[in-house]
């Protein structure tokens, strides 16, 4: 199915370009959405000056970031300092490749799509570590240390939750997992694996450094955490990667648990996007509701609750799959 041919190369290139455009467009849309949600939750209108309902505000922000001077602290390690944001953004395009937006809109459908996503999303941790280390700044270093220990910790329950789904469907191919689910909500995996979905959804907050688990960039403690010293496009790349990762984890959740591009009627990528955006909205809602967790709470939740529950869920899934 996936033999190397000219057609494969063509779909890969087109898919990559489309994915990059999707990421950039999404980041701007999400920044606007985030600010609107934040405003509404805090009973104010949010950005409302530039364009209808302030939609052009994020365009203006992007332009500002493009024109900003890129600064480097004098004692920073130049090569690693500039490598880190690139490394943070680089794998993101790859991570979107196996996502089945619809049967047609799938850039690349390997048998190990899920493994590809899980493997390459780990590179982001390395980027955070490099950024914090090379900045030669105590806030950055603290942020990086927190980021690494948090991401590494939350990857384990996340993996256990994803594995339970893989056990259930007997495949790591996202397209096939979606194929095996039905269109109606009770045919989705979220109903057969509610605990796995819960563990997955909690873990992605830790994975993407979102509030209430945004300790690597806790602004009240660490200025901006690991990206304190970055300005202009350096910061923009981290920012883009962060939002792209948010979209990614929500898209993966959609494919794994919410039936992907299938809906009650008229299957298509709109169902996929609607579900992913619904999850993103819940992430924003949660961010503007809960205060930041303390670091020991964060790790306690992970090691004492999510990990045992995830392991039990996996065992139960394996048992049930073997029996029936």
């Amino acid at each position: 199915m996936n033999e190397f041919s000219l057609w494969t190369v063509f779909t890969l290139v087109v898919g990559l370009v489309a994915i990059l455009a999707f990421i950039a467009g999404n980041a701007m849309a999400l920044v606007w959405m985030e600010r609107k949600v934040a405003g509404f939750i805090q009973r104010r209108p949010g950005p409302n000056q530039l364009g209808p309902a302030g939609v052009l505000q994020s365009v203006a922000d992007a332009v500002k970031l493009l024109f900003k001077q890129i600064l480097k602290p004098s004692n920073a390690d130049s090569i690693i300092f500039f490598l880190a944001p690139i490394l943070s953004f680089f794998p993101v395009a790859l991570l979107f490749m196996p996502l089945p937006f619809s049967p047609f809109f799938t850039a690349y459908s390997p048998n190990l799509g899920l493994l590809l996503i899980l493997a390459f999303s780990g590179i982001n941790v390395l980027a955070v570590l490099l950024a914090g280390w090379s900045s030669n700044n105590k806030y950055s270093l603290y942020g990086a240390a927190r980021g690494v220990s948090q991401s590494v910790a939350y990857e384990i329950p996340l993996l256990l939750a994803v594995l339970a789904i893989a056990f259930q469907h007997g495949t790591l191919n996202l397209s096939e997992i979606v194929e095996q689910q039905g269109g109606w909500p009770w045919q989705w995996n979220v109903f057969t694996q509610p605990l796995a979905f819960l563990i997955y959804f909690i873990s992605i907050f830790g994975e993407t450094n979102r509030s209430p688990f945004d300790l690597p960039e806790a602004e009240s403690e660490l200025t901006a955490g690991f990206h304190t010293e970055y300005s202009g496009m350096g910061f923009a790349l981290f920012f883009l990667a962060e939002y792209a990762n948010m979209v990614l984890v929500c898209c993966v959740a959609t494919a794994l648990f919410l039936g992907g591009w299938k809906g009650p009627f008229l299957d298509g990528f709109w169902w996929f996007l609607a579900k992913a955006y619904g999850l993103l909205f819940i992430m924003m809602w949660v961010r503007w509701t809960y205060p930041r967790a303390r670091f020991d709470m964060l790790l306690n939740l992970n090691w004492k609750w999510l990990l045992p529950l995830g392991a039990l869920n996996l065992l139960a899934t394996a048992f049930v799959m073997k029996l029936f």
Partner: protein
């Protein structure tokens, strides 16, 4: 075992509280927005009444354009930032003949009453750029001639915009209040009810002094020229 049950109850309570938090923010999300967009909208008058802005003078009940102030300088010495400066009025200048008459009377051994300076201040300047709104001047004032204004929207293009002449301000306010009241009175007269002017309207100090309309218009004209200065 007991400990486990307690932990279980705590867990359920904790999860429930998460849901409550989400419900609160969801309610705010769909609810009415409560902020106002400043240059286009301002907060209603009732909302700014409790605001404590830069200080202003209080007029005399019978003459709202003149402050109660007796130029005792208590506020000037009480102010920790030195933002108040007051000059007293001088006694009226005597003509040479009067001066001579007084000198003669004194020479005869009498004690004639020389005219004294009016107690009202000649100038009352207030530098808001230094003011910390500590209310020390308000507490120090023996005649309650200072109060906080409720000016919410202060904006200026230079530092000088915040060096206030509070005497001029008081006159302007009194004239504005009077003009507003007169407008109201004439309106109600037109509609037929003459005694409606006595109704309580906007909370203005000038309401206590019923005066003729032509005087008011001249006062407001005067106030306008002062404001322009």
């Amino acid at each position: 075992m007991e400990r486990l049950i307690k932990q279980g109850i705590d867990l359920i309570k904790g999860i429930w509280s998460l849901g409550v938090g989400l419900a609160v923010t969801a309610w705010y999300l769909v609810n009415r927005k409560i902020t106002v967009q400043y240059p286009k909208q301002v907060v209603p008058r009732e909302a700014s009444e409790s605001f404590r802005g830069p200080i202003e003078l209080v007029g005399q009940p019978k003459d709202p354009a003149t402050p109660k102030c007796i130029s005792c300088m208590m506020c000037v010495s009480a102010c920790p930032s030195g933002c108040i400066s007051i000059t007293k009025q001088k006694p009226p200048k005597l003509s040479p003949e009067e001066e001579k008459a007084f000198a003669e009377a004194e020479a005869r051994g009498e004690k004639p009453k020389r005219p004294v300076a009016p107690r009202n201040p000649a100038t009352w300047r207030y530098n808001y750029t230094y003011c910390s709104l500590c209310a020390c001047c308000i507490e120090a004032c023996p005649v309650n001639s200072i109060k906080f204004s409720n000016e919410l929207y202060l904006a200026g293009t230079s530092r000088g915009d915040f060096h206030y002449d509070l005497l001029a301000r008081l006159k302007r306010k009194a004239a504005e209040a009077k003009a507003a009241e007169d407008a109201k009175a004439s309106e109600t007269k037109d509609s037929g009810s003459a005694d409606a002017a006595a109704q309580p309207g906007s909370p203005n100090i000038s309401q206590a002094v019923p005066e003729k309309a032509d005087e008011a218009s001249s006062a407001s004209g005067q106030a306008k020229s002062e404001a322009a200065l």
